[in-house]
């Protein structure tokens, strides 16, 4: 059990705190609590799980007070080992070439690695999907090889190109859309990861496993031209 305490967040929020660390087993406990909270019928506006916290927001302070009482009554009955996840395994193509890898040089210099070594370290690991957040369909994947662990940019970029692959701390990600952000960009995937038309909305879901493989610019353009739907992506890249 990692759950520690419930903390008030401003005047209309709550935080469920699961400690300072991040790991697959902490994430599995967070997701178990999340699924339990979702069915409590709280008058919340949002329930947002992440690596080691769940943030809940409310319409009013009164709603928060009532929900806090309810959560405190129910929390002892949560059994974190009872959730099951239908997870998929993905093999996702990434082009690491210079035109996409905006921060490759910074990564190489920080860790004294060649470009080929960075690519190999990044694409030789199987990643766990912790949760979806930050922006629509943005997966937090981890953990990356220890020799690639890099802090975020000092000041976030105003605009990161859509489908960029980034790394920050122990994690890697894909930006589904153009966005400001602070991750170090090392490549790009050739298709979209998010669709409002598909019931899944986000290609990756918490618990999914993802592996990357390097492709060249020509292959990138070939796949990009196909403009694949979520259903075709599931057929082609998931197992």
């Amino acid at each position: 059990m990692y759950f520690k305490e419930i903390i008030l967040y401003g005047d209309r929020g709550l935080i469920l705190d699961f400690g300072q660390q991040s790991s697959k087993s902490i994430s599995q406990e967070v997701n178990a609590y999340y699924h339990h909270l979702k069915v409590l019928g709280l008058s919340s506006t949002n329930i947002v799980p992440s690596f080691n916290k769940i943030v809940i927001s409310f319409y009013s302070e009164v709603d928060r007070k009532q929900s806090l009482n309810k959560i405190q009554q129910e929390i002892s009955q949560i059994n974190p080992s009872t959730t099951t996840q239908n997870q998929s395994t993905w093999t996702i193509p990434v082009c690491y070439e210079d035109s996409f890898a905006l921060d490759m040089q910074r990564i190489q210099e920080l860790h004294d690695l060649t470009k080929e070594e960075v690519i190999q370290l990044h694409s030789n690991t199987t990643y766990y999907t912790y949760y979806i957040g930050f922006m629509p369909g943005f997966p937090y994947l981890g953990d990356i090889h220890p020799s690639l662990i890099t802090p975020r940019l000092e000041s976030p970029r105003i605009q990161i190109p859509a489908r960029s692959v980034g790394i920050a701390k122990e994690h890697t990600c894909i930006y589904p859309k153009v966005s400001p952000g602070g991750w170090n960009i090392i490549g790009q995937v050739p298709f979209n990861l998010f669709s409002l038309e598909h019931p899944r909305t986000s290609l990756f879901l918490p618990g999914d496993e993802i592996k990357f493989h390097a492709i060249n610019q020509k292959e990138f353009e070939r796949i990009q031209k196909k403009d694949l739907s979520i259903d075709s992506l599931i057929k082609e890249y998931a197992s």
């Binding site: 008030l8 401003g10 799980p49 769940i54 922006m135 629509p136 153009v178 952000g181």
Partner: protein
């Protein structure tokens, strides 16, 4: 059918409502009006707004009626004119209903000493909701219309106006404020007493790099003695996060749903609308 067209966009013209909830776990922000107080005041004049409002920043739009007639109300501190079909120009007041007939063109000029203004249209804009809301997040491309509005965008409203009686909301009270009492953020302990002292004793300026996602401030840098890089966690509108350059960012309605910078403080929910109305160059103070 009653039809009008956008003939001038002004700036940052989008469709908004009171927010899109229950999707933040998929990375979808609450969005909604930057100053929902104004929507509440407009509601008293046009109760049947169908939850579809136009929001603009600094410079308002022009709307021209090409068929039928509509009834609108403008909220915010701004000058409003209607160019009638017969070429006369009439000035209108905010929070007063305005009847627009075929050929009439409404123009809302710049907001005065504030940022955001709104237009409510009786029976709404004839839009379908997207994920149970009409709010627009232009960075994430989420919304009934998932982009800022453009010249030529045309709205068709099936229902006819219920009454042409001019209604005026006399009780509008939109407070202005530059000092904000804040709650401690989840990473308050990432900042030394000295840094916290700077945070509450210095004046911060809202910079031009500010939008519906966040207000970037400039002032005494707040350097953490622990780290400016935390495990990303859920954030709420009003959070004050500090990247490693030490310059705080107040997160607004189009929040990144989780974030990895330490949060020194969080605004009271009611103050988010007040800080949203302060134009770049405004000086603000925080009190913990």
């Amino acid at each position: 059918m009653n039809t009008f067209t956008i003939t001038r966009t002004g700036t940052y013209l989008t469709v908004q409502d009171f927010g899109r909830y229950h999707y933040q776990h998929l990375g979808i922000s609450p969005s909604g009006a930057m100053d929902p107080r104004i929507l509440k005041e407009l509601e008293k004049v046009i109760p049947q707004h169908a939850n579809q409002f136009l929001e603009f920043a600094y410079v308002g739009p022009s709307l021209k009626v090409s068929a039928g007639a509509i009834r609108v109300c403008v909220g915010g501190d701004c000058n409003i004119f209607v160019q009638k079909n017969n070429n006369t120009q009439i000035e209108h007041q905010p929070y007063t209903s305005i009847n627009l007939f075929e050929g009439d063109e409404l123009t809302v000029y710049n907001t005065i000493d504030s940022v955001f203004g709104y237009i409510a249209i009786e029976n709404g804009l004839g839009l379908e909701p997207c994920l149970n809301s009409f709010a627009t997040d232009t960075k994430a491309n989420i919304g009934s219309i998932n982009r800022p509005l453009q010249i030529g965008d045309t709205f068709n409203i099936k229902e006819d106006v219920s009454s042409w009686k001019v209604v005026f909301n006399e009780t509008v009270n939109i407070e202005k404020q530059n000092n904000f009492k804040v709650y401690p953020g989840p990473q308050l302990n990432y900042f030394s007493d000295l840094a916290l002292q700077s945070f509450v004793s210095s004046t911060y300026t809202i910079t031009t790099q500010s939008d519906r996602m966040g207000l970037r401030l400039q002032g005494a840098p707040l350097i953490s003695h622990i780290s400016h890089d935390i495990l990303s966690e859920g954030i709420l509108p009003g959070c004050i996060q500090v990247p490693s350059n030490g310059q705080p960012i107040v997160l607004m309605r189009d929040i990144p749903c989780t974030g990895g910078y330490p949060k020194i403080a969080i605004l009271a929910s009611e103050d988010i609308a007040k800080i949203a109305q302060l134009p770049p160059g405004s000086h603000i103070n925080f009190d913990l």
